[in-house]
Subunit: 219 residues, 2 copies
DNA sequence: ACCTGAACACCGTTCAAGT
DNA sequence: ACCTGAACACCGTTCAAGT
């Protein structure tokens, strides 16, 4: 088997997509490549370098998923959802790189798309940079959290799920009045709507600072 | 040495505060307790149960840090900052539990405080539950991301820091027009301000749905 | 030049043996 | 009843040996 950083990263994406509890281990990667697990370290300095390469690939995949021809706001919204989707679909790597700068073409493309979109919406340069950082951190933090959950072994997830449904009900109303009063409403909340709510709040903040005279949403 | 879940959790919080790269290992915990590392598993079912116990303790610490007598909005803001602070100060555990339900008194107290605060601001029950979930997920996701960064070994952090400062500058302006145009503004962004920006956006979203006739911010 | 495979120091967890 | 310490199957990484 002929190895290269490219070939290894491809294989690592496939392994990471299997979402096994122990994640992207050297052994699993070696098996996917049909190679001894130590051979990887001839092409990557260490595990961290490999993770960054795979993480950057995930960002490239997310950017590639955004359809052409969308208006700025819908484009950024689509990018945000794609990042979360791709990170959750490769949860071990997603959780590991959500707090990192991957320093590759995937990151460049994602940042470029965000900056260009915010520019089109009519923000001035300083605000473009400020809201880009806010959007990137928000989306990556959320994607990292969801990926961190997705990577858990099934029995742990089951425990968490059950806990969310059942642990609040038997609490004392004297000690936790608001909590016990809201139990039925809390149970009805859908975690998947949180990202949309976050993005809505983000646009409210953008609108509160946008200068309408500079707006040219077609670019 | 006499062990108990309480004693072990105390020691684990101290170990987690040391923020060493390899985090909360059995060996470090055993040393802190003056006990063989395997003795812990007589009191906790497995590593996951231990992590949840320590994570819930972190939430209790965060709630305890919130000053008395604050108005609802300032109280929730203070709670949010405390959670991030405590998670970053115990980064290994913070990163591991940000996506979890810790199912203990710390979680109950934090959720109670959020629900009560949102109620005081004048939301009706369904909206209280909806925004509590949004606030909790936002704060935990952000805290988890910051903790995930804080837990990295120093040389990795150095690499990331340097990357953020230097990798965008040499990129091609034809390929990345928005990115290269905003380099000086991007460099000036302060990551610590992102949480404040997120909270501001959150309050804008709350205000957009709050029913002013039900408002009684003193409760 | 590149992959192999043994080796090293770690990890969480189990379990028979001691007290 | 509770802690000890050997043991097990893992991990990332190194490095001499092969091709």
């Amino acid at each position: 088997m002929r190895l290269s950083p490219e070939v290894i990263t491809d294989a690592a994406v496939r392994v990471a997509a299997r979402a096994e509890a122990d994640g992207l281990t050297g052994r699993a990667l070696g098996e996917e490549l049909g190679v001894d697990r130590s051979a990887v370290w001839r092409h990557f300095a260490d595990r961290d370098a490999l993770l960054l390469a795979v993480g950057d690939r995930l960002l490239r995949m997310a950017v590639a998923q955004v359809p052409e021809g969308l208006a700025a706001r819908e484009r950024l919204q689509s990018l945000a959802r794609s990042v979360v989707e791709v990170y959750v679909a490769h949860p071990f790597v997603g959780a590991a790189v959500a707090c990192r700068a991957t320093r590759g073409p995937g990151e460049f493309a994602a940042v470029e798309m965000m900056l260009a979109g915010l520019q089109e919406i009519g923000l001035r340069a300083e605000a473009v940079a400020r809201f880009q950082r806010m959007l990137a951190d928000t989306v990556l933090a959320y994607a990292g959290m969801r990926a961190g959950y997705a990577v858990l072994p099934q029995h742990v997830k089951d425990g968490d799920e059950q806990a969310r449904a059942a642990t609040y009900a038997p609490l004392s109303p004297e000690r936790y009045p608001a909590l016990t009063a809201h139990v039925p409403y809390l149970a009805k909340q859908d975690g998947d709507r949180v990202l949309d709510a976050l993005l809505e709040a983000f646009w409210l903040a953008v609108e509160a600072t946008a200068d309408p005279t500079r707006r040219n949403s077609g670019r």
